[in-house]
């Protein structure tokens, strides 16, 4: 952690960056995002198990973009989010300095995007193991069981869109749910509207989800909506052998194709 603080100070003092995006301890002891612009305040930076939020979500916000050059504390999911954001032209790689954090919470030397790519390539890019277990359980259910399980979950949804706001990949300035010509998604938080909202969100993240699980963590009513996108991330690997967020030049799975893509259901 000291390495992180001294590196942050160094970057701010040398004016290499204008802001360091990281975590600090909030009043209740929970980690919260910190935007350090003054090297004197860099001591507030923490890095431990509490720091789970995917900070990449801030990179597409206008307020943050205005900082220009910035450094960001990044564990694997954040790095993969950054790769996606660069490849989708939302973030300029040259403006970013990655303060990479390894699995065992030590500071990585990530000098460039290609070094980051090398690091990502060596990591396990599957879903987190605890989610993998839940997915396996769900996949064992009959269609009817799955339907009622999810309907039960969706019945809690209040359509606050926290799942969307927390996701680094949901950076659109206008979401489909805000389109009313035509009204694609029923506005109300009801069974129909909730179901279609979650289908829509998952489909829009197909091939783009980097399995950080932030959407599920952000949900105030505890819908494990991250399982939907993670299931698709698994399937993207099964069908197309692609993990999202592994290169700054990748095309998303749904905007590319291979002529010999395999499926078994089209007659």
């Amino acid at each position: 952690m000291n390495n992180l603080i001294s590196r942050a100070k160094e970057l701010l003092e040398s004016k290499t960056v204008n802001v360091v995006i990281g975590y600090e301890a909030g009043p209740t002891g929970l980690a919260r995002p910190a935007f350090i612009t003054d090297s004197a305040k860099a001591d507030k930076l923490i890095y431990d198990e509490r720091c789970v939020q995917n900070l990449a979500v801030y990179l597409t916000k206008a307020e943050v973009k205005n900082f220009g050059k910035m450094a960001i504390v990044a564990r694997l999911p954040v790095m993969r989010s950054i790769m996606m954001l660069i490849s989708e032209q939302q973030v300029i790689g040259d403006n970013l300095i990655i303060l990479g954090i390894s699995e065992d919470n030590s500071l990585l030397d990530i000098a460039s995007i290609s070094v980051m790519q090398g690091y990502i390539d060596k990591c396990d890019l599957g879903n987190p193991s605890k989610d993998r277990e839940i997915l396996a359980e769900l996949n064992k259910m009959t269609p009817e069981e799955k339907f009622s399980w999810w309907q039960n979950q969706f019945s809690k949804c209040i359509k606050c869109y926290a799942c969307r706001q927390a996701c680094p990949m949901c950076y659109c300035i206008r979401c489909t749910v805000e389109v009313n010509q035509p009204q694609w998604i029923p506005v109300q938080a009801n069974a129909h509207g909730n179901t279609e909202w979650h289908i829509l969100r998952a489909m829009h993240l197909a091939g783009r989800c980097i399995s950080c699980g932030e959407c599920g963590r952000a949900c105030p009513v505890g819908i494990p909506c991250h399982l939907l996108t993670m299931q698709l991330a698994d399937q993207v690997w099964n069908y197309f052998h692609v993990h999202a967020g592994t290169s700054d030049k990748m095309n998303s799975v749904l905007s590319t194709y291979e002529p010999n893509d395999k499926e078994s259901f089209i007659i």
């Binding site: 799975v253 749904l254 002529p259 007659i267």
Partner: protein, 150 residues
């Protein structure tokens, strides 16, 4: 339920399946009248949300059909559609939404007979499955709630 007649919507591309269905007509082959066709330029144009809209508006079954791989009028629209349907189907399966109600097919402009088969096979299958109650319930529940709230 024996007199149940399913409502089936077909989303087809203009260049292959729509033309194939024209050929079915020109050949005077008969098929079930439950199916009604909506024309798109290409399967690549077919938004997955439209399938949900069809179910929400009372469809019991859906056919999605376009050009065979490599035959797309626009070269690659059907390949993109294929990937989209792979993902969509996996998601629906995971959420317990019954994809046996959707037939995906490639029907070329020369396959008038295949179009009749695809339609008849789909209608027979959906007829056996019965009306799509569970999706309709989602929508009806909504309407009931609204009425209650008012």
């Amino acid at each position: 339920m024996s007199d149940f007649e399913p409502k089936v919507v077909a989303f087809v591309c203009n260049w292959c399946t729509y033309a194939g269905a024209d050929l079915t007509g020109t050949s005077r082959l008969k098929y079930a009248s439950n199916v009604k066709i909506i024309r798109f330029p290409c399967t690549g144009r077919i938004d997955f949300m439209l399938l949900l809209k069809a179910f929400a508006n009372g469809a019991d079954g859906i056919i999605v059909s376009g050009c065979h791989p490599n035959d797309c009028h626009y070269t690659s629209g059907n390949f993109h559609a294929k990937r989209r349907w792979i993902m969509f189907k996996e998601l629906m399966d995971f959420m317990g939404i019954d994809m046996n109600r959707v037939t995906f097919s490639w029907v070329s402009a020369a396959e008038g007979a295949k179009w009749a088969e695809v339609v008849n096979e789909t209608v027979t299958r959906i007829r056996e499955m019965g009306p799509y109650v569970s999706y309709k319930e989602l929508v009806n529940k909504t309407i009931e709630e609204e009425v209650k709230n008012e």
